[in-house]
């Protein structure tokens, strides 16, 4: 990420939201991975806002997959919201658009029970 992400979560069962911005790439993957796994560890569903992700590569995708699997093994879930065109192209290339729950925005994700 060229900009640091932010994480916010509220008590009860509202989802934790992680915002990823800039380049989600090999350079920033360690920080992204920690941020995602920290969010998963809260025990709530996680929504990853990719609206400001200008670039994502296989390292960034690997972080998302790992977090998704940890979330599901812990009984929660991880979804993607407001996926940028570039990020969606990469997800489709890896056929992961059928694996991650993808929502237009946070409101739509929440309405869908995320």
């Amino acid at each position: 990420m060229s900009k640091s992400g932010t994480k916010s979560g509220k008590p009860q069962q509202e989802p934790s939201v992680v915002h990823l911005a800039g380049s989600v790439d090999l350079e920033h993957a360690p920080g992204v991975r920690k941020m995602l796994l920290d969010a998963v560890a809260l025990g709530r569903n996680v929504l990853v806002d990719l609206s400001a992700a200008s670039y994502i590569d296989s390292s960034g995708i690997a972080c998302l997959i790992e977090a998704l699997q940890k979330a599901r093994s812990a009984g929660s879930d991880l979804g993607l919201v407001a996926v940028s065109i570039q990020a969606m192209r990469v997800l489709e290339l890896a056929r992961l658009d059928m694996v991650f729950p993808i929502h237009d925005d946070i409101a739509a994700a929440t309405a869908a029970g995320a």
């Binding site: 790439d25 350079e27 590569d57 390292s59």
Partner: protein
Amino acid sequence: MTSASFQVPASEDTAEPLLELHFTACADRLKLIRDSIRATARMCGFDDGTAQSIVLAVDEACQNIIVHGYGERGEGVVILGLYRCDAGILVRLRDFAPRVDPAKVKPRALNDIRPGKLGSHFMSAIMDTVEFRPGPEGKGNLLEMTKHTGEPQ
């Protein structure tokens, strides 16, 4: 840094060298080269979306060199050459890491959902050809990839 550089391959003797970059194999250099790759792909006639895909393929190839080629041996040198050829763009990546066994550079099955091993899939899915060769004089590795514009020349 090495003084090595590319010669235009015989098979692409009409290829026009557009850009050659020498950079240290570490992750924070990749952002520096992505903009150059994108601009060069556009110069070769690709639309924005395809140019961005070419950026991803080359970026993934560079990551393989950084992570698997040099790996724990630390930073090494990578030379990226971009050529305009009749069919589109020719990408050459040279490193001086131990020889790569091309048989081991295989993507995982996409239905095997797990972190990692997607870079090789991106390279082969995006580019029309991907070929690993020994480096000149038996040193390191040479990766050649081409992407065709699909337009009559």
